[in-house]
């Protein structure tokens, strides 16, 4: 059990832009920490630097007080679950799980007990003598987890461990992993591109893009108060609408969007776009589920403050709800408001009287859930 501290870690391959650029963060003892981002964002490289498979170009990595920056992987005492599981195909389940103990020179008898315990923890008691190719994907995944945990590593590293499972098994396994981790209290770093997974499991999330840390915070905070337009788009289903600040009144600001509508939104001094002044060009992040469908739009001239007019372009029925895609209109309600960022997506409970595609409707984003981000 230990904390992990990355300070000013940079990894550059050749002349290309850095894969990881000046990354500094601290993972607390016992925390379940997630590195989240699209593929190529540097999250896996970061994890591999923590594991010791990749040497940072500059910066330091510490486990607690110990500087491990140049320690080889086999002297770092981390436990890693690989995306491909990386089980040893020539060993049976028990030999796989016991491998780390063998390397640590644990006596045979104790090794056997601990392997059995670890297998029991992941729900595979009695599977010790199975061959790896006799296991299903989910079982292999749990063997990999048991193998990483049985050595009681100071840090548990998980590299997209669920990406090879089907959707249903994925949900089950993720709560299992979290439960096992909570019991063991092992500091864990989890890498994923799946934001739902990240939110469901993590104590804290670091959102990365292009090798840069965009936001670090608890799942709720990241979801509600995205730091950048990228985070707003990447997490949840968010509409990012560009606009200009027209007025400031205490804690709120009036923002004119490019389609001419005027929205009022709280100003957060310590997050998102920060404090703003009249004339600032910013963007508003509007969650798809935080938009109310008011019905047929009145004439353009009668557009109410706080509402947006848009033409319904498509409807997707998803079971519990409906997702609507609408195209923003300009001030006269008849032309598109510019090609970029024209489409807005909203999620509403399923009803029988949906407007038809082509109808122009009025929408009202919930002012409390609008969030200002830098463009």
């Amino acid at each position: 059990m230990t904390s992990v501290e990355l300070s000013h870690v940079t990894k550059t391959y050749g002349a290309a832009a850095p894969s990881v650029d000046d990354l500094s963060l601290t993972i607390e003892d016992g925390e379940f920490f997630t590195l989240l981002g699209p593929s190529g964002c540097g999250k896996s490289t970061t994890l591999r630097m923590v594991a010791g498979f990749v040497a940072p170009t500059s910066g330091t990595i510490r486990f607690g007080e110990r500087d491990v920056t140049s320690a080889p992987p086999y002297k770092r005492d981390t436990g890693m679950v690989f995306q491909s599981y990386a089980l040893f195909p020539h060993m049976d389940v028990a030999e796989n799980v016991g491998y780390g103990l063998r390397m640590r020179k644990v006596a045979t008898a104790e090794r056997r007990t601990r392997v059995d315990e670890a297998l029991a923890v992941v729900g595979l008691a009695g599977y010790g003598e199975r061959r790896i190719d006799q296991l299903s994907g989910g079982q292999q995944q749990r063997v990999a987890l048991a193998r990483a945990l049985v050595v009681q590593p100071s840090v548990l590293l998980l590299d997209e461990p669920l990406s090879n499972l089907d959707a249903k098994l994925r949900d089950e396994t993720r709560s299992q992993i979290r439960e096992i981790q909570r019991k063991a209290g092992t500091t864990s770093i989890y890498v994923t591109h799946d934001q739902a997974e990240a939110m469901a499991m993590s104590d804290r999330i670091a959102v990365m893009n292009g090798g840069v840390l965009h936001q670090l915070g608890e799942p709720r905070e990241v979801y509600r108060r995205p730091a950048t337009a990228f985070v707003a788009r990447f997490i949840g289903r968010s509409n990012v609408l560009p606009g200009v600040v027209e007025g400031r009144d205490g804690g709120t600001a009036a923002v004119r969007l490019t389609d001419g509508s005027l929205l009022h939104t709280p100003v957060a001094v310590d997050g998102g776009a920060g404090d703003v002044a009249v004339g600032d060009e910013i963007a508003l992040s509007v969650r798809s589920e935080a938009v109310e469908l008011l019905g047929p739009a009145p004439a353009a001239a009668d557009r109410a403050e706080g509402t947006i007019h848009a033409r319904l372009a498509m409807v997707e029925f998803t079971g519990s709800s409906c997702m609507l895609g609408l195209d923003l209109l300009d001030g006269a309600d008849d032309e598109a408001a510019g090609q970029a960022d024209r489409r807005i997506l909203i999620t509403i409970p399923d009803t029988d009287d949906l407007p038809r595609t082509g109808d122009v409707v009025a929408l009202r984003p919930d002012p409390a859930r609008i969030w200002m981000v830098a463009r």
């Binding site: 170009t57 992987p73 086999y74 491909s84 990386a86 020539h90 990483a148």
Partner: protein, 582 residues
């Protein structure tokens, strides 16, 4: 150190794993330099001695003619082997007819023919005093000499019958890889069957045909045994003649020219294989076989298949038959008149007759052990080395694969004749060590390639997992990587052993007088008209090859490997397991 801000501390970017690769690479590079690269350079330097007089000799003398002849025979071999191998592949992968199953089994039989005895058996089957021409003369009254395959025609016959598998294998693989939906798509879009072949299948088969052609060309250029039997003056023959007559400079010049041609073709092949991209991207709809209908076509197919099977089996059957012949009794008869088991019993009871067998198996065994160590470690280093050195090492170890055995022999003789700093003061001429060295150089590429192929099937994160669990680099190699490579390496090593066991082309150049290896003994016995004894050795050799082929097949398809068989193909030079030995 403490005062320095950590941001400014630049590191080499090397992990422990990278350093381990370099540590391992160093001795390997040394070994390959001394035993593979330096001998080539030694030959080249020798060839340029005396102001290049040898090259003047080369261009004015018979060498130039020999080179033209070699190239001509090689081009012809490519055409004939391509025709036979390609036709057989199309027939067997696309059509269902009586006899297909039998034909499929026997189509690969030529690969079990030992190099020397293989060429001999064609001589005794189709040569002027061979079984078939004599039979024709007896039954049809046509002079045996006019139907016999002799001289250049004999060489061409041996080449065709032993090299068509290169085409057969690559074209079969190509046809099996193109799935039915591609052809169906073409015909669905309005292509007739002929147009479909021209516009879809042939372009897709081009890589297979080109690889087969380059390989056949290289092997033909290197061919020595067949030209020796039919007394055709190819470049390889000239090299041995020059060496025997003591003109070392000329032999070196001839070897250099032949090396350059061979290396050129190796590079051409690598370039082509790296460039090609025509691999089927679709999921693969099973190929439906076209069934041959009708009584007459089916009968014809059956008779044709039977005839082909007879032709394919004939060489093997001849080896077996001749191995029971009483020495010196077969003169002008169609078939040998007297048979005995004594040829075999003598081999195992007479110490003098057993000796070549022991020499060859010991020398080849030594070479195999060295090949395993060097081949496996080099494969690992090439796979894990991230820098450009990997490519250099790959080329260095694959070089001997391109070199004709004759040239390998000349290189060794030139490089290890007198102590120099480059050969670390080692002199091997007349020493027993020269044979294992020759076999090692010739067959280490085979072990290397097999090792590299098994390595390519291992998920690299398996090694990382071991390190993550606390195993150091050596430990990881020993407990995870090597065990996973064992089967593939063993298959390659056994193949290398059996090739070394029957090696003739380089042996004949380098062998010390007191230790004649098996193949040289076979040649000597045949020369002394002790046919039965020669072929008895030959059939033992064939038996060894068959056993190794079967073991390899079992080794390379174990249960847990099968699941991964769809993994990406090995990145290293893809070459067939059959090395250049004709």
């Amino acid at each position: 150190m403490t005062a320095l801000p950590s941001r400014l501390r630049r590191r080499s970017g090397l992990t422990a794993a990278d350093r381990f690769v370099y540590v391992l690479a160093l001795p390997l590079v040394g070994i390959l330099l001394v035993y593979i690269v330096f001998p080539m350079i030694a030959t080249f330097v020798t060839s340029t001695g005396d102001d290049g007089a040898a090259y003047a000799d080369f261009t004015s003398g018979s060498s130039g003619r020999a080179l033209v002849l070699s190239v001509g025979i090689s081009v012809a071999s490519v055409l004939t082997a391509g025709l036979v191998g390609g036709a057989l592949a199309v027939l067997l992968t696309r059509f269902e007819f009586p006899g297909r199953a039998a034909l499929r089994v026997f189509a690969l039989l030529p690969m079990a023919l030992p190099p020397l005895i293989g060429a001999m058996t064609f001589y005794y089957l189709y040569g002027a005093s061979g079984i078939v021409p004599r039979l024709v003369q007896e039954t049809l009254g046509i002079a045996a000499g006019s139907v016999a395959a002799d001289g250049v025609w004999g060489v061409l016959l041996v080449h065709t019958m032993t090299m068509y598998p290169y085409f057969y294998l690559s074209v079969s693989a190509g046809l099996a890889g193109s799935d039915a939906s591609l052809e169906e798509a073409a015909m669905n879009l309005g292509a007739s069957r002929a147009t479909m072949w021209r516009t879809v299948l042939l372009p897709m088969l081009t890589p297979a045909l080109v690889s087969g052609a380059l390989l056949t060309f290289m092997v033909s250029m290197a061919s020595f045994t067949a030209p020796q039997f039919y007394n055709v003056n190819t470049l390889t023959m000239r090299i041995v003649a020059s060496k025997t007559s003591g003109s070392y400079e000329l032999a070196a010049a001839q070897s250099t020219v032949l090396s350059l041609v061979s290396i050129l073709f190796l590079l051409l092949m690598r370039w082509y294989q790296n460039r090609r991209s025509t691999r089927s991207a679709s999921k693969g709809t099973p190929q439906a076989l076209k069934v041959v209908h009708g009584a007459l076509p089916r009968t014809l197919a059956a008779v044709g298949s039977a005839l082909l099977v007879v032709v394919l089996v004939a060489p093997v059957a001849t080896i077996l038959l001749l191995s029971f012949t009483v020495d010196g009794t077969w003169t002008v008869q169609i078939l040998p008149p007297e048979y005995t088991l004594e040829n075999f019993t003598t081999i195992f009871t007479d110490p003098r007759s057993l000796r070549p067998l022991l020499v060859s198996s010991q020398m080849s065994g030594l070479a195999m052990l060295a090949s395993i160590v060097v081949g496996v470690l080099t494969a690992w280093v090439v796979a894990r080395w991230k820098g450009r050195g990997a490519g250099v090492l790959d080329v260095m170890i694959m070089l001997p694969w391109a070199l004709p055995g004759t040239v390998v022999g000349i290189n060794i003789v030139t490089a290890f004749a007198a102590p120099t700093p480059f050969n670390l003061g080692q002199v091997f001429i007349g020493s027993l060590w020269i044979l294992p060295l020759a076999y090692f150089i010739r067959f280490v590429p085979l072990v290397f390639r097999n090792a590299a192929a098994s390595l390519a099937q291992i998920d690299p994160s398996v090694e990382e997992a071991a390190q993550n669990l606390g195993a150091g680099p050596w430990r990881t190699l020993r407990t995870v990587t090597l065990p996973l490579m064992t089967r593939g390496v063993l298959a390659g090593a056994l193949m290398a052993f059996v090739q070394g066991f029957g090696e003739y082309v380089a042996s004949v150049v380098v062998y010390p007088a007191r230790f004649a290896p098996l193949s040289v003994e076979i040649y000597n016995r045949q020369y002394a008209n002790e046919l039965g004894s020669a072929f008895a050795y030959g059939s033992l050799q064939m038996l060894a090859i068959l056993v190794v082929l079967i073991i390899s097949e079992l080794l390379e398809n174990p249960r847990w490997r099968r699941r991964r068989s769809s993994a990406s193909p090995p990145a290293v030079t893809a070459v067939p397991t059959q090395p250049v030995t004709v």
